[in-house]
């Protein structure tokens, strides 16, 4: 973990209620599947946001406006200096992926799949990516994933774009391992449908984000785990729903 100041370069809307911001700063300890915890003016607690990409001194975060914190974030202007805790959480283990990993992101769970896809692809692995959204106006990053060379499948619940249904309706390809992030009902559906081992990234209300307050603990088959420090990524075998 590092406590660093980043400068906001861009902050733009890329889909319904969804914003992409690019920050400039020291990204040396950021791994895929980790998150950063952002101090926001006027709010007491930091806001944890998963890492979408971190390369060339630039950190990309994508967030959905869901409350007062992300609302304030959506109004941040370029040039704003932000106090971040970086390198939080365990992140994904790319060693376990096999040759043909499947990446499944739902809504605000899509962003962490991007850096992961980039890394797996650079390791010579062929990624299949399923991106799940509610409706066409919520879809983002389809082209970005395609540019990485992944096979991309987009699902929308209302059928307004791509495959009609949930991410699980697209899970018909062959894969060696999977990684997923999204709302808990989606994670559970993926868990039930999946045929291999895999990794799940969980979300929880956090106090500190670095393991001190025990605000986000869950039970696993391997003992109690703090989502912020021992997670957010849990392996399939340890999860207790």
């Amino acid at each position: 973990m590092k406590n660093l100041v980043f400068e906001l370069l861009t902050n733009k809307k890329i889909a319904k209620n969804t914003y992409e911001c690019v920050l400039c700063g020291d990204i040396s300890d950021i791994k895929c599947g980790q998150f950063v915890n952002i101090m926001i003016d006027g709010l007491y607690l930091r806001r944890p946001i998963s890492v979408c990409d971190a390369e060339d001194g630039k950190l990309t975060l994508i967030y959905k406006v869901v409350g007062v914190g992300t609302e304030k974030m959506a109004n941040m202007e370029a040039g704003t200096k932000l106090d971040l805790l970086t390198g939080l959480g365990n992140g994904y283990d790319t060693e376990r992926s096999g040759d043909k990993p499947l990446l499944i992101g739902g809504g605000a769970g899509v962003p962490p799949m991007y850096k992961l896809c980039k890394e797996l692809t650079s390791q010579g692995k062929k990624c299949s990516v399923i991106l799940g959204f509610g409706s066409m106006d919520e879809v983002f990053y389809e082209d970005e994933f395609k540019s990485l060379g992944a096979d991309v499948y987009v699902t929308t619940v209302d059928g307004s774009y791509g495959i009609k249904g949930f991410v699980t309706d697209a899970m018909n390809m062959e894969y060696t391992y999977f990684y997923t992030c999204g709302p808990e009902p989606m994670l559970k559906a993926v868990y039930n449908k999946s045929t291999t081992s895999g990794e799940f990234s969980f979300e929880e209300r956090m106090g500190c984000g670095f393991g001190a307050c025990m605000g986000c603990t869950c039970k696993t088959k391997y003992g109690n785990k703090r989502i912020c420090k021992d997670g957010p990524v849990l392996v399939k075998e340890e999860i207790i729903w």
Partner: protein, 303 residues
């Protein structure tokens, strides 16, 4: 050169800054960031006789200038703490530590304290009779002077280490509880634990926290804490560890003027992991600014 040393229940500490229990774990997360030996001490994660998972999530909610938690004393139990956490802590922290203890019966408290009494690095036992987030224990001991006295007596019987009783502000008369524990031999009191509060999620129209209510901490609690320290200072002769929303060196000075011998820093550590370090580093300058040479001279100075 200003002097930040104070003596808490017979143990001299380099400065009065003590991260509060439940906001500092067993020090590991913070030792990754800075040398925690700069601290006066720290109060480790509240420990009970048996392991506890605590309450379901959500355990955290935010409010203006503060936060609520209902963690519910998650801890691996005293045997595990002694076998695993303390040996690890010893590697990163080389000063007397404050052992925070909670329980669900008088016997629980005595059992846990008796075991921790044998631990060399434990300087003080901070007995939490004020956790608002567990049923059938915790705060129920701290809201009744008679029960508070009973726990104090039982703990004093099993330890030679100084016993500091941690008090709840969720009472009509905190001074009465302080007097009760003093009369049974408490060596000090620490206050305040969190204030009982709640938030409602407007989208779901239900309470945010899993058990509806939680403990409020953060800067919004500071004036309440200060008032409690003031009142308790008037009521007892034993030292007071003041806490509640302390975020700056100025807050520390204010708390000490109200009557605190040492000061615990809680929620601030969670928002800024360097908070306690920053307070310690800025203390000499703040002391100089207010013409304070010896920090221990100002204890209760506002009375």
């Amino acid at each position: 050169m200003v002097n930040t040393k104070v003596t808490l229940c017979g143990i001299e500490i380099d400065n009065p800054i003590i991260p509060a229990s439940g906001t500092f774990g067993f020090g590991q997360e913070f030792a990754e960031l800075y040398d925690i030996n700069i601290l006066g001490s720290f109060s480790f994660k509240g420990t009970t006789k048996d392991p506890r998972f605590g309450n379901p999530t959500p355990r955290i909610a935010e409010t203006a200038s503060g936060m609520l938690n209902c963690v519910g004393l998650q801890n691996p139990g005293v045997e595990h703490v002694i076998a695993h956490e303390l040996p690890e802590m010893k590697k990163i922290f080389h000063k007397p530590v404050m052992a925070n203890v909670s329980g669900f019966s008088v016997e629980d408290y005595a059992y846990t304290c008796e075991l921790l009494d044998k631990e060399e690095q434990v300087g003080w036992l901070e007995v939490n009779i004020s956790c608002p987030n567990v049923h059938g224990g915790g705060m129920s001991f701290g809201t009744d002077p008679k029960n508070a006295a009973e726990v104090t007596k039982a703990v004093k019987a099993v330890t030679k280490k100084p016993v500091i009783i941690k008090l709840t502000p969720n009472v009509t008369d905190i001074a009465a509880v302080a007097k009760a524990v003093e009369s049974e031999g408490a060596d000090g009191v620490s206050l305040i634990n969190t204030l009982s509060g709640m938030r409602i999620n407007l989208k779901t129209k239900k309470p945010i926290l899993s058990i509806t209510t939680g403990g409020l901490s953060g800067p919004c609690t500071f004036p309440v804490a200060l008032r409690c320290v003031w009142q308790v200072y008037n009521a007892v002769k034993i030292p007071i560890v003041g806490m509640g929303g302390v975020t700056t060196a100025e807050d520390v000075i204010e708390m000490m003027l109200a009557g605190a011998t040492a000061v615990e820093v809680g929620a601030a550590n969670l928002v800024d992991p360097f908070a306690s370090k920053k307070i310690i580093e800025s203390l000499p300058e703040a002391m100089a600014k207010y013409g304070i040479n010896n920090l221990s001279d100002i204890i209760g100075g506002a009375h």
